[in-house]
């Protein structure tokens, strides 16, 4: 710098030097920030523990993919693109921000270098792009008002002004630092000094153009002013962010780093407390705010209120009182109110009946669409299960569910039907002629267990899926058997409805039966049972869904399928939540369908991980929800929109809900539903009889 032009660090104005002023601002600002964050962390220290430090390598990869790579953002193209630009810009500008903060205190360190200059160019463009992106974002919010940002009346008032305010502040930050650069460059140009190179068409470059003719002293004041505005805005934003959704700027890294790594499973009642010690735990579940784990509370802080979760939530779509977004935002507001930065902590209120209603919590089908969408990897299912555990602990369970739970306890199935009738589906005469269904009760053994579970065993319509599966397994040459009356409900949804101890009783019973049978693998046609055996059960042989078995047979050319009879039919595959989203089995069922010659298949627009829940399974079939229409009806309409007249699914609960929906929506005759196993069974060309085993007796069983 030449004489007469002082860098901020050397300017003395009024009574104090700018350097001192900047130092004070920075110390105060930083201290404020530390204070605020400490207060915000307070509830985390009172919360339940959560073990999130395991598998550091996997966590690093998760961070890379979802935080740095913004992996989920492009699922919404426009918002995703804008955010990607802003996020990338922020990362790039981080160095410049640091530089600027130090620059007010001392400028001795800044030596222009090639890297430095290259960086400056990139940073200039970054600032420009961020500036335009936030303007675009603000414009979008004000003019287009995407539906998912709207706040329904019952949730209080939205804060659209807040969002615009924050976007404006970011714009101001970009503008002030660009002005800082521009004014300096303009001075240098006027003083005919070697100046920094401003990237062409960047914001600083544009600003410099309009500042060419201004007098140097004015420029200099502008330079200083822009600097101060930049520093103040920076610290203002830093301290303001923890008071709203922008806190995610700070917390997102941690939230993603500590994210849940295991899909399909449910957290234990209390981390660190083994099943056998659960009797000592005084209270189960989440009843008040501090019963959440620290990671759950971090989730509440990290929510950016983007609405993508609720936008995809099927319960929300049919008018049930559940909106995942507001589950989080209400909890966040509760934290802000009861653990305030300024003021006394005031907590221990009951959540149910307070910020949450009972129906809100029972409405969730645990489909996982919300978790699939959230760019910040916020978890929902564990929280819902914990809230339900709390209600179950207090005896607060809807009557229809109580009845099913009681039946599960006394009979091992939610229908209350007798245990000895559990294998009656396999006694069907036509089935007995086609294949042997062994019952593994000690009188016979097999390599593979076909775990049937309750609905396929007892429901008149769904038993057909059991029979189709048995025939398919037999055709595939599997040496298989069923547990029969020794099988109890897998308990998958008992657990997700919060009755953990009943789940454990069912699980322990089944594990013992499975181990006693001596099987080395398990196959099931029920995705809920599949998920339970895979993730909720320990010490059982590996489990596959029937679609995976079929896909393998197809790939090895071992499955002979005859062509479709009615070539006019158009088939759409509906991804069941617990096969697709939770276990990522998307392609196997499709491979099987495509192996049927001349089968015309279309995809619904919401497919694969965006599949729309049919209405829920297990105990959800007994819940009487408060809704405007059925999820199944919406799904049937989606199939019709895709041009299909047959919905193929691979889950008995999906079948019940979709067939029901076809009747209720008056689509009978225009739409039918069929299970993958039934479809394959219909098109199976039987192999030559001597190539696989058939039992001499139709049903080998101790008591018939």
């Amino acid at each position: 710098m030449s004489e007469g032009m002082l860098t901020p660090a050397h300017v003395v104005q009024w009574l104090t030097s700018v350097q001192t002023l900047v130092a004070i601002i920075q110390v105060l600002g930083f201290a404020c920030f530390v204070f605020i964050v400490t207060r915000r962390l307070a509830p985390l220290f009172r919360a339940e523990r959560d073990f999130r430090l395991d598998r550091p390598w996997l966590r690093a990869q998760t961070l890379l993919k979802y935080w740095f790579g913004q992996w989920k953002h492009p699922r919404y193209r426009v918002a995703g693109a804008l955010h990607l630009l802003i996020f990338a810009g922020f990362l790039i500008l981080a160095t410049r921000a640091f530089y600027l903060l130090v620059f007010g205190l001392t400028d001795d360190f800044a030596t222009p270098s090639t890297i430095g200059r290259a960086y400056d160019v990139v940073a200039d463009y970054a600032a420009t792009i961020v500036f335009m992106a936030v303007l675009a974002a603000a414009f979008r919010r004000i003019i287009f008002k995407p539906a998912r940002y709207a706040v329904p009346e019952k949730y209080g008032k939205g804060h659209p002004g807040d969002a615009i305010f924050l976007l404006a502040l970011i714009a101001l930050l970009m503008f002030s630092e660009s002005l800082f650069e521009a004014s300096r460059a303009a001075v240098q140009a006027q003083a005919e000094m070697p100046g920094e190179f401003l990237a062409i068409l960047s914001l600083p470059w544009i600003l410099q153009g309009s500042l060419q003719i201004a007098p140097i002293t004015a420029l200099w004041k502008l330079h200083l002013g822009a600097y101060l505005v930049d520093v103040v805005t920076f610290y203002f934003l830093l301290c303001y962010r923890p008071f709203g959704i922008q806190f995610h700027v700070e917390t997102s890294l941690f939230n993603v780093m500590f994210a849940k790594l295991d899909r399909g499973t449910v957290k234990p009642v209390r981390w660190g407390v083994s099943d056998s010690d659960l009797d000592q735990v005084k209270s189960f579940g989440v009843k008040k705010f501090e019963d959440f784990t620290w990671k759950h509370i971090l989730d509440f802080y990290s929510c950016a209120d983007c609405g993508r979760c609720s936008d995809n939530c099927p319960a929300n779509a049919v008018g049930r009182p559940l909106s995942p977004r507001f589950l989080t935002i209400k909890a966040r507001d509760y934290a802000f109110d009861h653990f305030p930065v300024f003021g006394k902590t005031n907590n221990s209120h009951a959540l149910i009946g307070g910020i949450y209603s009972e129906d809100e919590v029972w409405s969730c089908t645990t489909c996982g669409a919300c978790e699939e969408e959230c760019p910040l990897l916020i978890e929902y299912i564990d929280k819902i299960v914990d809230l339900r555990r709390g209600m179950v602990d207090d005896g607060n369970v809807p009557k229809s569910i109580q009845k099913a739970l009681k039946a599960l306890e006394s009979r091992g199935n939610p229908y209350g039907k007798m245990e000895k009738k559990r294998a009656d589906w396999a006694k069907d005469k036509d089935l007995q002629r086609a294949c042997a269904v062994k019952v593994l009760d000690g009188s016979s053994s097999a390599q593979t267990l076909y775990f049937v579970d309750s609905i396929t065993s007892y429901d008149d319509r769904i038993q057909a899926i059991g029979r189709a599966t048995a025939r398919i397994l037999s055709e595939a040459g599997e040496n298989f058997g069923i547990l029969g009356a020794g099988e109890k409900d897998s308990g998958h949804d008992v657990r997700r409805f919060g009755e953990e101890m009943l789940f454990q009783a069912l699980r322990d019973h089944n594990v013992a039966a499975i181990q006693a049978s001596g099987v080395t693998r398990i196959v099931t046609s029920d995705p809920h049972a599949y998920n339970a055996l895979k993730h909720d059960y320990k010490d059982v042989p590996p489990v596959e869904h029937i679609s995976q078995v079929l896909a393998r047979e197809v790939r090895h050319g071992r499955l002979n399928l005859k062509p479709v009879q009615d070539t006019g039919n158009v088939y759409a595959y509906h991804d069941p939540c617990y096969l697709g989203r939770h276990n990522q089995v998307y392609d196997d069922p499709r491979e099987v369908l495509d192996a049927i010659p001349e089968l015309r298949r279309v995809e619904m627009s919401r497919c694969r991980d965006r599949s729309f829940c049919c209405g829920g399974g297990g105990l959800m079939l007994f819940y009487e929800p408060d809704e405007q229409e059925r999820m199944g009806v919406k799904r049937v309409q989606m199939a019709a929109e895709a041009g299909a007249n047959v919905i193929v699914t691979a889950c008995p609960f999906c079948m019940v809900n979709i067939e029901d929906a076809i009747k209720v929506s008056g689509m009978e005759g225009k739409m039918t539903a069929i299970d993958l196993t039934e479809l394959v069974d219909q098109h199976l060309v039987p192999r030559v009889p001597e190539s696989h085993e058939r039992g001499a007796n139709a049903l080998v069983h101790a008591n018939t």
């Binding site: 229809s400 009487e624 059925r630 009747k663 209720v664």
Partner: protein
């Protein structure tokens, strides 16, 4: 048989309940030569008119007219009966909300045996009276014997005993009111709350489409409503549907609901528990539609169809609509 048989007659608005005549039939089953005595309590012109009407069927009618008995309070009636009924009597009552209230305590006060909700009487055998009861919601019947040597209080199921023809009788009315002393009760009647009439009074409808547990869920109620509309009928139901709050109480047919006298009664997904059938009077043409071929309703229905009502009713509805279009 030396024990005297009494029948306590329940009445409303001056009219004796149907059970009055049914109890005569029951008494004859106990002892074919029996001439039971009716016992009526109440006040004012109402009790007078009831006693008058019973003279045609009962040889003797005991009237207990006390102001405190204007409303039938079982506690007060019991005290009154204990003072007038001789020891060792056999007392018959209807097994309804009043009988349930009155009878058990009466049996203790009279030191008599008690058996309730009797659906059949096989006759006396020494000190034992052999009767038939049902248990487990009617799933099984039981042969029961009751020691009547010190008397008995027996409540009979309304509708189980068909009144016989019998020659008309010119009975005497005996006023026993003075024999009953001061009555005071530690239970005092306040008022009766009648449920809101609602838009429809099913007790006046000639054709009813009645649904039970088989409807399975609230959304399916519409299926029944559509059928009712097509038939020009009205929807009624059994208790579980009201307990689940899918229909208002005013639509319930049964002992704790409305009494109906339709010409045609479609019982869809209704098992046929006696509490429900107790609300069905007259002799309607009963059509039973139920998935379970063993449902008790098939015993009392005129016509039965074993099918899933959720599939059959819409089919029926569209046929009726088609038929009506043609005729119009």
């Amino acid at each position: 048989m030396t024990a005297r048989i009494f029948a306590y007659v329940v009445h409303k608005s001056g009219v004796a309940d149907d059970s009055a005549l049914e109890m005569i039939a029951a008494a004859r089953k106990i002892d074919p030569a029996a001439s039971p005595t009716a016992v009526v309590s109440g006040w004012g012109p109402e009790v007078e008119s009831v006693c008058e009407s019973l003279r045609a069927s009962y040889g003797e009618v005991w009237k207990i007219a006390k102001e405190k008995l204007a409303y039938p309070n079982a506690e007060l009636v019991r005290s009154a009966l204990v003072t007038v009924l001789p020891q060792g009597s056999i007392v018959l009552l209807p097994h309804n909300h009043f009988g349930i209230d009155l009878a058990p305590g009466l049996s203790i006060r009279l030191n008599a045996a008690f058996v309730s909700d009797v659906v059949g009487i096989d006759g006396a055998e020494g000190p034992w009276l052999k009767v038939v009861r049902q248990e487990f919601g009617g799933q099984v019947s039981a042969h029961v014997r009751c020691d009547i040597s010190t008397g008995a209080v027996i409540s009979v199921r309304p509708g189980a005993f068909k009144p016989g023809e019998g020659a008309p009788v010119a009975g005497l009315v005996v006023d026993r009111s003075a024999d009953v002393g001061e009555l005071s009760a530690r239970r005092r009647y306040l008022e009766t709350i009648v449920p809101e009439a609602g838009d429809v009074d099913i007790s006046k409808e000639p054709v009813l489409v009645s649904i039970g547990r088989g409807i399975q869920e609230q959304d399916n109620v519409a299926i029944a409503q559509e059928l009712a509309e097509a038939m020009g009928a009205v929807v009624s139901c059994s208790r579980p549907v009201v307990d689940a709050k899918w229909l208002p109480k005013s639509r319930q047919v049964g002992s704790s609901g409305q009494t109906v006298k339709p010409k045609v009664y479609l019982a869809c997904g209704i098992s046929g528990s006696f509490q429900h059938l107790a609300g069905l009077k007259g002799s309607p043409f009963i059509v039973a539609i139920n998935k379970n071929p063993k449902a008790p309703i098939f015993q009392v229905a005129d016509v039965g169809i074993v099918t899933d009502m959720l599939e059959f009713l819409p089919e029926l509805t569209s046929r009726i609509r088609a038929m009506k279009q043609v005729s119009v």
